[in-house]
């Protein structure tokens, strides 16, 4: 008969026990990997995207570049990164401008999630975002991104941006990378975390 109860004071909690069961009731948002930036990398990359989760989330906290640049995202397969057919639309607002700007990238080589704004490279200019990725593993239909960001653009202006987009490609995505992919700025500091979302 399988045990269903443990008698009080019968288990030594200082011991180590093997566990072969299944933990239930855990969170549906699972932290997969955290990168704390060091060594001024050119890009930050997450590999091992698989079918475990139907949606992936990336949070960037206080990222700071070595110089003015953009924050871009590129998706890749097991063999290579995909460098065409990224489309993006959305809106951005910059404090002090008084207007909302429309973002429209139709045939890009990355998701340019800072849109038309340069991300500032001064030590007090940083980038913060939450972004979701959908259908990364699909072989038909397209890979979508939705990102909301608050960052400081060149000249110390704060920018809010909300963008959605898609990668027009039927390949199965297994990795993603972030950074000033088409520019020369490296990443000085900050934290980037990859989560999986269960559905």
């Amino acid at each position: 008969m399988a045990l269903s109860k443990i008698q009080a004071e019968s288990m030594n909690l200082a011991d180590t026990y093997a566990f072969t069961g299944t933990v239930s009731g855990t969170s549906d948002l699972v932290k997969i990997s955290t990168t704390t930036v060091s060594g001024t990398p050119t890009i930050i990359e997450f590999t091992g995207i698989d079918d475990t989760y139907s949606v992936y989330k990336v949070v960037m906290n206080n990222l700071q570049l070595t110089g003015d640049g953009r924050m871009k995202v590129r998706l890749g397969t097991d063999s290579a990164y995909i460098a065409s057919n990224y489309r993006l639309t959305g809106v951005s607002g910059r404090a002090g401008s008084g207007t909302l700007d429309k973002e429209n990238k139709f045939t890009d080589s990355t998701f340019d999630i800072t849109g038309g704004w340069d991300l500032g490279g001064a030590t007090d200019e940083c980038y913060n975002t939450s972004m979701y990725f959908y259908n990364l593993r699909g072989t038909s239909g397209h890979k979508h991104i939705f990102a909301t960001s608050s960052f400081v653009s060149t000249g110390n202006y704060v920018v809010f941006m909300a963008v959605g987009g898609r990668l027009y490609d039927n390949s199965v995505v297994s990795k993603m990378k972030f950074g000033d992919i088409t520019g020369s700025a490296n990443i000085n500091s900050g934290t980037v975390t990859l989560y999986g979302v269960k559905q």
């Binding site: 955290t34 050119t42 930050i44 990359e45 992919i181 520019g183």
Partner: protein, 95 residues
């Protein structure tokens, strides 16, 4: 060049460095086309704001006609990124 993969700092491969250099070169080569695309996007939005004045039950003033023509002509003669960045949009007249 370095990259961080799943939290670990590693050297980029020669192939990755070549890809990065090509990305930068391609991006720089497209600077004028991108600046023109952004200019047209903004110009088209400004034109759309006053499109309703071209409806048959509206009368467009001479100032508005001049303004809209100036918007249409705003890309004329631009050959460099500096040209595009120096563009000043015309002031919208009162409708």
């Amino acid at each position: 060049m370095k990259k961080m993969v799943n939290g670990v700092l590693v050297d980029m491969t020669p192939e990755e460095i070549t890809e990065k250099e090509q990305d930068i070169a391609t991006w720089n080569e497209g600077a004028f086309d991108r600046s023109m695309e952004n200019l047209r996007f903004k110009r088209n939005n400004l034109l759309a704001e006053t499109d309703y004045l071209a409806l048959s039950d509206q009368t467009m003033s001479a100032e508005m006609t001049t303004y809209r023509q100036a918007l249409r002509d705003i890309t004329n003669g631009l050959t460099t990124v500096a040209d595009v960045e120096a563009v000043v949009f015309p002031t919208k007249p009162g409708a």
